[in-house]
Amino acid sequence: MTGSFDLWKLTKGVLFYALVIAIVVIAVFPFYYAILTSFKAGTDLFRINYWPTSFSLANYQSVFSQGAFPRNLLNSVFVASVTVALALFLAVTASFALSRVRFRGRGLLLMTILAVSMFPQIAVLAGLFEVIRFLGIYNTPWALIFAYTIFTLPFTVWVLTTFMRDLPVEIEEAAIVDGATPWVIITQVFMPLMWPALVTTGLLAFIAAWNEFLFALTFTVSNQTRTVPVAIALLSGGSQYEIPWGIIMAASVIVTVPLVALVLIFQRKIVSGLTAGGVKG
């Protein structure tokens, strides 16, 4: 900020904040509407309001009284965390091999990994079901953790490979000269440098696992093992055709809040400047 009054700068600032506000409003409005709806009940649901008119926590209460929602939340946290940890662990090591060690068939290998992401999820359902039953992990959280690697792993491997490729060669060489093994290079030198990429991919993978529905529905059959998206789908109104709109919205709010908190916690890590000062040229 300069002290002098600068019309152009001011206009730019105003335009910039207008853009920020527009982005936030568009992103958040449906969620705001969901919160609004979660406080409504009965015929009110069909009425359009822009501001809160009633404030009832009844929907939130029913979320926790139906089924085993707290348990489902825990399951989701467990499944998503382990999935992300596993995917990042496998992907960080694999992407080191894929980005920094030259060997024959590397391109082909990357393509093969990508190919896993090319098959419609719906089509692998039957085969995956067989594998999971064969492994004896049916109806356990491990079935989901296992199944989720099918979409988290290719993604994390590719993204991390891209980012690791961009890390300066000299830093790695300096570490080699210092006597670091590949494992030490990954864990003590590269990973701290890749926080933005790790946090970002981890976050995206976490959300993907957190929100997955189809596998969760297929591979778990009890309230004790199911995750939140299935639990939301299980929320029901008084009768078959009735959609318990308010309750679903309340559940969605409950489910989304931890993710927002997660982002707020980790967002500091999505900052740059970590590679600054290390190399020049």
Partner: protein, 419 residues
């Protein structure tokens, strides 16, 4: 129940040889709603008391297509973890090969139930599922508005159209700009098959595919029925009705923005809720009849059943459970507590039932006209048949081809599929 116990229970159900244990552990899968599951649990408690069999409920999302896809997959994989399935009226025939024949076990009590319901669950000579409750839609109408404008409850679709049009126009002239004449389920999905089957059948146009497998849909009466329905869209019904399911229709209705609505019984209690704009101002009647030869009121048969998996390790106990849940006693409790329509005819005269759910009296008449969807003759192809049918109807309603053209193509498609 803890996870461990759950696992133990499942292991047990896999490893136990049928009949080896007197008290079996069973699993029943149900996509029923919250209170429905509570009711089911209370029934299971009674069942456990009576037989000693312990039953676990596996709840499923209420989306029927989600349920159906899952059940198919489980059955295809020979999943022995589930013994009894709660099935929609149209499913059991499609999964007939994987369910146990209940005909013999059910023979004793079969004549207590509506024959059309039993018929809908019979594939060839095999009874694939036994009924839990039934369902049939009705015409919801606004008593107050009909009275205000001096109209009778319509008995034919033409009357409905005219009445709806007049009231709608009069109300709009008075400043009630939001009001529509008629709302129904016009989205391209199973609900439209139900609606359109009623139109076609009420015009005497048959039931798409007859019980003997003849494809009957391409006939003049059916064309007339669809033409009538197409004339509603954009006039007495909003254009958006083409995306409506049950809930959207109920939303419009419950806000007081529709004179007529076609819906299932569930909307009855909700429309009488304290915050509903239509509370106390509405009633139900059988759906209108068509015109021409064979015209009558007709209502698509809905409802749920219980089927026993052939992969069950405890088939005997499972059959016992299915029969228990479809028994007159259980249905009576269901009618009282859940307001579900029984399939046992005598219950419609039962005082306790009527005291708890007075509206059921109104449904008895509706039920006389119930028509099953052609799931029994088409068996595993039913879903595809239904999809072809609702697509043809949806096209007609949205002005994409005339009724005659669309039904002609439909006939060819059905012929290709079923030949």
């Amino acid at each position: 129940m803890t996870l461990n116990k759950m696992l133990v229970a499942m292991m047990a159900s896999v490893t136990l040889v049928a009949g080896a244990a007197q008290a079996a552990e069973l699993s029943i899968v149900s996509g029923d709603t919250g209170t429905g599951l509570q009711f089911l649990q209370s029934e299971l408690d009674i069942f456990q008391e009576e037989t000693g069999h312990v039953v676990t409920i596996v709840p499923m999302p209420s989306s029927t297509s989600d349920q159906f896809g899952q059940y198919r997959l489980w059955l295809a994989a020979g999943n022995a973890d589930i013994d009894v399935y709660q099935t929609d009226v149209i499913w059991a025939p499609q999964l007939a090969d994987q369910f146990v024949d209940l005909k013999e076990a059910f023979a004793e009590v079969a004549d207590q139930h509506f024959p059309s319901v039993i018929e809908s669950q019979t594939v060839g000579d095999k009874l694939v599922a036994v009924p839990a409750f039934t369902d049939a839609p009705a015409l919801y109408y606004r008593k107050d508005l009909l009275e205000k404008h001096g109209k009778e409850v319509p008995t034919t679709w033409t009357e409905l159209r005219q009445t709806a049009q007049e009231i709608m126009e009069a109300e709009r002239a008075e400043g009630n700009t939001e009001i529509w004449g008629y709302v129904f389920q016009g989205n391209a999905y199973e609900g439209l098959t139900c609606n359109a089957l009623e139109w076609v059948n009420s015009f005497g146009g048959g039931q798409i595919i007859e019980a003997d497998g003849t494809i009957s849909i391409n006939n003049e009466q059916a064309v007339a029925a669809l033409e009538e329905a197409a004339s509603w869209v954009g006039t007495i019904a909003p254009q958006g009705v083409l995306a409506y399911g049950e809930e959207e229709a109920r939303g419009v209705w419950q806000l007081g923005n529709a004179v007529f609505m076609r819906n299932w019984p569930y909307a009855y209690a909700l429309s009488n809720g304290d915050d509903a704009a239509v509370k106390g101002n509405f009633d139900v009647a059988p759906l209108p009849a068509g015109e021409g030869e064979g015209a009558k009121s007709s209502a698509t048969l809905g409802g749920w059943n219980f089927a026993v998996s052939q992969y069950s390790q405890n088939q005997e106990a499972a059959i016992e459970l299915a029969l228990f849940l479809s028994s007159a006693e259980s249905q009576k409790r269901r009618a009282i507590e859940q307001a579900n329509l029984p399939t046992v005819q005598s219950l419609y005269q039962d005082e306790e039932v009527l005291a708890a759910s007075p509206f059921m009296a109104a449904w008895e008449e509706i039920f006389q006209n119930a028509v099953p969807r052609p799931s029994a003759p088409t068996q595993e192809n039913y879903n595809e048949v239904s999809s072809l049918f609702w697509s043809a109807v949806h096209n007609t309603l949205s002005g994409n081809g005339s009724a005659a053209e669309n039904l002609e193509v439909l006939e060819i498609d059905l012929d290709d599929l079923l030949q």
